[in-house]
């Protein structure tokens, strides 16, 4: 096979220039390959804005851009962002066990979930490698990690969001192996969601409130996740189409 034309973009700043955009269009017309070097996907360094009380508020830090031109890699980066958030949250929950009013049975469940989320994060970190990896700084505002109700309700939010996020990202995966990997993780997130909901409202129908789980677009998920992340979550080359799931609410 003959060598395809190739355009190399070393840093994010160049992506914005009209000249670069023209080159990309020309290249794509020729069936060429676009190579984004680490600088083109890494964060641009905005100064973090410190909010009231000295804590940086959501979205006030560095911009972390997920470039969907990277195809399946971008979907895995999107999952990695969510798993970083979940792993950090449950780590803080477990660290606060000594002073929290969670029951022993609840602590057992939350410890298992912390293990699973840390493992998901470490797996995606290894899968993405240093070039496609990034580190987010979570923020929880005034959340009281000693308070059972606050912890369980936040856990419910994260687990339901995680399920809907993986479900909605599936349509952007082109490699069946990656689709299977996402499937292996999403059902565990759904098991978590049901368990957390059962702790909040035992033996009710809340463990599975709908016959079909939600299927959320990446941009909808980003909107929800941003409230828990200091870094500004950004997409480039975001998909222009999203096929809705059965609930039509993505």
């Amino acid at each position: 096979m003959s060598e395809r034309p190739k355009l190399t973009i070393p840093d994010a700043g160049m992506l914005g220039s009209a000249h670069t955009r023209r080159d990309i269009l020309k290249l794509m017309a020729m069936g060429g390959a676009l190579v984004l070097l680490p600088g083109a996907i890494a964060c641009s360094n905005d100064d973090g804005i410190v909010g009231p009380g000295g804590n940086p508020g959501p979205g006030t830090g560095n911009t972390v851009t997920i470039d969907f031109a990277k195809g399946d890699i971008a979907v895995l980066q999107f999952a990695y962002a969510l798993e970083q958030l979940e792993a950090d949250f449950y780590t803080k929950v477990v660290d606060a066990f000594g002073s929290s009013n969670l029951t022993a049975a609840e602590k057992t469940v939350l410890t298992d979930i912390k293990y699973h989320e840390v493992i998901h994060r470490e797996f995606l970190k290894a899968a993405l490698g240093s070039i496609n990896g990034f580190s987010l700084t979570p923020t929880y505002g005034t959340l009281n990690f000693n308070d059972r109700t606050a912890v369980l309700n936040t856990a419910k939010t994260f687990e339901d969001l995680g399920v809907a996020a993986y479900n909605g990202a599936g349509q952007y995966l082109s490699d069946p192996n990656n689709l299977l990997l996402a499937g292996k993780i999403v059902s565990v997130e759904a098991r978590h969601a049901a368990a957390i909901r059962d702790l909040i409202n035992p033996k009710s129908g809340d463990f599975a409130p709908k016959a079909f789980d939600d299927v959320f677009s990446p941009s909808k998920v980003r909107g929800s996740a941003q409230g828990f992340v200091v870094d500004k979550l950004a997409f480039s080359n975001a998909p222009t189409t999203f096929i809705q799931g059965p609930n039509g609410n993505g």
């Binding site: 069936g31 469940v109 298992d112 912390k114 293990y115 699973h116 840390v118 493992i119 998901h120 470490e122 797996f123 290894a126 899968a127 399920v163 993986y166 479900n167 599936g170 349509q171 995966l173 082109s174 069946p176 192996n177 689709l179 299977l180 990997l181 499937g183 292996k184 993780i185 999403v186 059902s187 565990v188 997130e189 759904a190 098991r191 978590h192 969601a193 049901a194 368990a195 059962d198 033996k203 009710s204 129908g205 463990f207 599975a208 709908k210 016959a211 079909f212 789980d213 939600d214 299927v215 096929i243 809705q244 799931g245 059965p246 609930n247």
Partner: protein, 273 residues
């Protein structure tokens, strides 16, 4: 070009996908050389067939096969919970809402799958007759008032099977996004059911290793392979921080594994009358 009867009979969605792909090819997109040769020869019907595979990766018949297969599993679950919730004295009052919720979901899944199959121009397979004793493995089970433990054990077996069955079929739906979305949306709900039923039985909501817990030996096929530690070519138990976070045990819990269609058929066959 003149519309051939063959072309008229094909789903408009397929025609538009084929048309878009043919345009790409005419503009120089890479394509299998056999398809290019067929197009060059003007062998329209043969090229159409080949292109259909080229566009979808899987043919529409793969998608239909998945839908009919899923329908069988949902028929099994729907009938199981419908009979269970209708049986006198089987389910204690405090647990009824759990099983009524699951029953309603499974019946909704049956209807949705039938609708999708019909929309693709096919006829949904009829519901078979079921044998919930699993050919005598659960001799005497008939939703009797003293058989709640067996009912819950079967529910756990069916839900854990459902999760793995849908997961194993996702790849065959990768190019039919609406059906993929529906399958993923059902897959996650089956996982919620599984977690709830397992916890109701005093088990963890997730599967540890290949443990069937206290289920009878004939259900072992539902759990075989769940002990897998290799994900994307990486042994997850060797990654940083994993040993301090539950180690290999948690690593098997953190990933649910797929079952092939043949494996699921082997699991379900004893329940077919």
């Amino acid at each position: 070009m003149n519309k051939l009867p063959l072309v008229e009979s094909i789903d408009p969605e397929i025609i538009s996908a084929l048309d878009a792909r043919a345009n790409e090819i005419s503009q120089g997109a890479s394509v299998d050389s056999k398809i290019a040769a067929l197009l060059a020869l003007g062998s329209i019907p043969i090229a159409l067939g080949a292109l259909s595979k080229d566009v979808y990766g899987q043919t529409p018949s793969d998608v239909l096969d998945v839908l009919q297969f899923a329908l069988l599993l949902e028929y099994l679950e729907a009938e199981f919970y419908t009979r269970g919730t209708a049986a006198t004295g089987l389910i204690p009052a405090a647990d009824r809402v759990i099983f009524e919720t699951i029953r309603d979901h499974e019946n909704t899944h049956v209807t949705a799958l039938q609708t999708m199959i019909t929309a693709k121009g096919a006829t949904p397979n009829a519901k078979p007759n079921f044998d919930f004793t699993a050919k005598g493995n659960l001799a005497g089970f008939n939703f009797g008032s003293t058989q709640y433990e067996t009912f819950k054990a079967l529910a756990m077996a069916f839900e854990d099977t459902g999760v793995r069955a849908y997961k194993g079929q996702a790849g065959r739906l990768i190019n039919d996004k609406p059906v993929l979305n529906a399958a993923l949306a059902i897959h996650a709900v089956e996982a919620r059911h599984a977690s709830e039923v397992r916890r109701l039985r005093g088990k963890k909501g997730w599967i540890t290793g290949n443990s069937r817990e206290d289920l009878p030996a004939f259900t072992q096929g539902i759990y075989d392979g769940e002990e897998n530690l290799m994900q994307g070519g990486v042994n997850v138990s060797t990654l940083p921080l994993v040993s301090a976070n539950g180690g290999a045990t948690a690593a098997t819990e953190a990933f649910d594994e797929p079952l092939t269609k043949a494996q699921v058929v082997a699991i379900v066959t004893p329940f077919l009358a």
